[in-house]
Amino acid sequence: MSFYKPSFRHPDSPTNALGLTRKAYEGGISTLCAGCGHDSISAAIIQAVWGLNIEPHRVAKMSGIGCSSKSPNYFLNKAHGFNSVHGRMPSVTTGANVANRDLLYIGVSGDGDTASIGMGQFAHVIRRNLNMTYIVENNGCYGLTKGQDSATADEGTQSKKGKINPFEAIDLVALALELGATFVARSFSGDKQQLVPLLKAAMSHKGFALIDIVSPCVTFNNHPGSTKSYDYTREHVEAGAVVDFVPMAQEITLDQIQGSTQNVTLHNGDSVQLSKLSDNYDPTDRVRAIQTLHEHKAKDRLLTGLIYLEPESENFHDILNIPDTPLNQLDQTTLCPGSDALAQINQGLK
């Protein structure tokens, strides 16, 4: 764990379209263990939000409880954050998001926070297609309470103390696909090349976007026999389905969409440029996505990348039919019907 962060930055640090360097997107010093996968994810989030030219204060960082849920403190210091209660980040985010539809909501959760105590809220936030990016920092164990198996620990994986997990793992990606999530991706904290464009695409998606990120716990789950260690993940990962995120402003040339790539345009005009897993894989085909996921699992391969995307969907704001003006900005004149209306109500109650 570091306790000091140098304030020096190279004077030629690149700036984004807002004229901001990445420093403007940084957070506090991480208190996580040295080498924790979560810190790599925080760095990727900084890179993605900076790269998307989003003002830091237009982001809301939401989390529950656990190592992963501490991490929003380590990126985007200029954004409000809410470290709520265990497993309940989705509900708090739903309320916040309905109150102000104009912010980018980044929810950071863990496998304990999502797949056990928060399973109900996870399922229902997917059903509502809330416009948010839901990141699971998945290490298969409970770090803060010293390494107990979580519900995403694979069957047969070995704990640090040598215990074999007898329970079937919950695959959050498969579950999200079944529940109708409109953007589903998996990644690995050690693959920043893949993670940053995935995050950009998820943040640009108008609807619920899940990224399940295998993020090894260096202290409790990084030993031989663990299926969530750096070594095991590197050996079994099969990256596919995303090569780049293309902003709307950037013209897509014909070459880029030929060959083994496919271009999917997002709601706002941005594109996700995909490298196809095989000639007939279509990431906008939910049934095929589920099948591909299971095929890889059967071969003991960890499929990463953009697994499913539904670019045009009705999100929770649409379903609620709320106005473009965020609800938290409506004034009393709009909200309060006043005394004349009340007089009429009184007449109806006689």
């Binding site: 237009r58 409000h80 470290n83 209660v85 708090v92 229902h124 609800l327 006043g338 109650l349 006689k350």
Partner: protein, 619 residues
């Protein structure tokens, strides 16, 4: 079975009796019974109807008790009833026994009455309701529904309901389905004529038009809460269905659809979210309020149990929230369709750790409206949850109250929220700094300023600038500031209402919520019996200084509440540090609303035997 005596005859009374209906739930009786009560209301007579219903959809016994009181007593009177309208064979034995000597048992004599149900001290009024309906209507559903309307028509003759009042209600009810007006009027007329034919002489229980309801309205507390939330500027309602609170969210939806749909765009200036459970509902409320939208939930005891963890977070992280708890009988699932005031302690100290929550206690639908609207001001001003404790009796029954009033000059109190300009020009922002000395810090809403005012909201300990800390002194300073805020709270809360009858201040009675009407009546009847008492109706917790002063000023103080464990008394003893023996409990907790008789008898018994310990009614 032959009666040994002829039943006594009641002395004629006008506008002062109780009628009870025994029905089968799901049979459409509710609307007919409601029409009965509303007609009396329109005749200008004070009336208080109460549903006593099962946790069931169809087929179980349900009752509707209607008290008529020219004197304006709107609480339950208690005791047996003068007129029982029995339309449910299942409960007939019990219903026969509910009639007072000399009273009337109205029943459907299409089928003969079981001789075991014959009492020699009451009168029986039989009318062939089933036969009349079946001869008149062919559709089976109509036969069932109109049977109810027919007995209302019969009662119009027997006790003198103005037929025009009934007609006006039918016209209003079916204004949008005019085809239903003629058959309803026909059914009313049929019942009236058949009753008049069989019983030409009206009963000694008579209704006579009065003028007591000028400036009054008749509505349910839950609907009033929903309307109050619209007026109070709530935009996000997150809820999970639970009896008896469901109609709060439904009320909000009804009025929001009426007043909050943008006429140009058709967009909703509100959001109603049916959550997956109560945990999620309160989580959404906290998220929305954290982000600067006024948001509330409505629930009942089991929901309050589930919301405990989140209520602690909101208390400690200082996020406003409004929770309407329509109390029912506990513990556990209890009797979901029966009333109680038994969530007081779990609400007052909701959550683990040192927590205290602001409570409001409305007594009437008007107060449900006003206090719901005000709850949003209080929650934002104090940056803390506000729990409004109503109950099934208030929430799901129609009550007469003064017309609802709204002052257009009133503006929402959004509390200490810093704008971008204020952040720009102000000193360094400290989320948990006590700048004004009242314990209430300033807050900022996400997205306000590019550089200033952002902070990390958390349930873990932090310093005045919202930075994480585990330093004991920083934690303790924060807890002490929260105590200062708690001491500030009464400034923003509705004061208790004192009714003084005895300047010698011998007997004092403290009460709250739906015990109000029954207490008022009991204190008037006690005064007539020579025991004059003052009363203080409490509307909020933390308590105002007036509560302590009232207790200290009186020789004997009774506390009226509807639970077994004297929860409100416990709160008084605990918070005001007074001797528990200085308060005498008047308790009622069988699931029915408390009656004036229970209060009168309990206090009187205690006054007659002053040495005895706390007088408690176990019924």
């Amino acid at each position: 079975m032959s009666p040994l005596n002829t039943p006594p005859v009641l002395a004629p009374v006008v506008n002062d009796f109780v009628v009870k209906f025994a029905n089968v739930n799901g049979s459409g009786s509710a609307s007919a019974n409601s029409m009965f009560a509303k007609a009396i209301f329109r005749m200008g007579i004070p009336v208080s109807p109460r549903n006593i219903f099962p946790s069931n959809i169809q087929g179980a016994p349900t009752w509707y008790e209607v008290r008529v009181s020219e004197a304006g007593y709107l609480g339950r009177r208690g005791g047996q009833v003068e007129l029982m309208v029995s339309v449910n064979p299942q409960s007939m034995a019990e219903d026969v026994n509910s009639v007072c000597p000399g009273g009337y048992f109205f029943y459907d004599n299409t089928y003969p009455l079981d001789f075991k149900l014959i009492r020699d001290d009451i009168h029986y009024i039989g009318l062939p309701l089933t036969e009349i309906t079946n001869n008149t209507f062919t559709n089976p559903r109509q036969q069932q529904l109109f049977k109810n309307i027919i007995y209302v028509g019969s009662l119009a003759h027997l006790i003198g309901i103005e037929f025009s009042a009934l007609e006006s209600i039918v016209n209003d009810t079916f204004a949008r389905k005019p085809k239903l007006i003629p058959p309803n009027i026909q059914a009313l007329q049929l019942g009236f004529d058949e009753a008049k034919k069989a019983y030409p002489e009206p009963l000694p229980l008579q209704l006579r038009s009065s003028n007591k309801n000028d400036g009054k309205v008749l509505l349910e507390g839950n609907a009033a809460c929903g309307l109050g939330a619209v007026y109070g500027g709530a935009t996000v309602c997150a809820w999970y269905p639970i009896t008896p609170s469901t109609s709060v969210a439904e009320g909000f939806e009804k009025y929001a659809k009426k007043f909050r749909v943008d006429p140009e765009t058709g967009k909703n200036n509100f959001a109603i979210i049916q959550a997956e459970d109560e945990l999620s509902a309160i989580g959404m409320v906290i998220g929305a309020n954290w982000n600067g939208a006024r948001s509330f939930t409505a629930t009942s005891g089991p929901g309050v149990s589930l919301m405990q963890e989140f209520l602690g977070l909101a208390y400690f992280a200082e996020v406003p929230a409004v929770l309407i708890d329509v109390q029912r009988t506990g513990p556990s699932t209890g009797m979901p369709t029966r009333t109680q005031q038994s969530d007081i302690l779990i609400s007052a100290y909701a959550s683990h750790g040192d927590t205290k929550q602001v409570l409001l206690f409305p007594s009437t639908p008007k107060e449900c409206f006003e206090l719901t609207a005000q709850a949003f001001d209080i929650a934002e001003r104090l940056q803390t949850p506000v729990i409004m404790l109503t109950d099934l009796d208030l929430g799901m029954n129609e009550h007469i109250c003064d017309e609802l009033v709204w002052d257009d000059a009133r503006s929402f109190d959004r509390g200490k929220v810093l704008s971008a300009d204020e952040l720009e020009s102000g000193a360094r922002f400290g989320r948990y700094l006590d700048v004004d000395g009242d314990g209430i810090p300033y807050r900022t809403i996400a997205g306000t300023h590019p550089e200033k005012g952002a902070f990390f909201t958390r349930g873990t300990s932090r310093d005045e600038y919202a930075a994480y800390t585990e330093k004991g002194e920083a934690y303790q300073r924060n807890m002490e500031r929260l105590a200062v805020k708690w001491a500030t709270a009464p400034t923003y809360l509705p004061k208790p209402v004192l009714t003084e009858r005895d300047s010698n201040q011998r007997i004092g009675v403290i009460h709250f919520g739906t015990s109000h009407e029954a207490t008022r009546e009991a204190l008037e009847s006690l005064a007539a019996a020579g025991h004059t008492a003052n009363d203080l109706r409490v509307l909020a917790f933390p308590f105002h200084e007036e509560v302590n002063a009232f207790i200290e000023a009186h020789d004997q103080v009774f506390v009226v509440e509807q639970n077994r464990d004297a929860q409100f008394k416990s709160l008084l003893v605990n918070e005001l540090e007074i001797n528990p023996k200085s308060l005498i409990s008047v308790l009622h907790y069988n699931g029915d609303p408390i009656s004036a008789r229970v209060i009168h008898d309990t206090i009187e018994a205690h006054l007659a035997a002053p040495i005895s310990s706390a007088a408690q009614n176990r019924g």
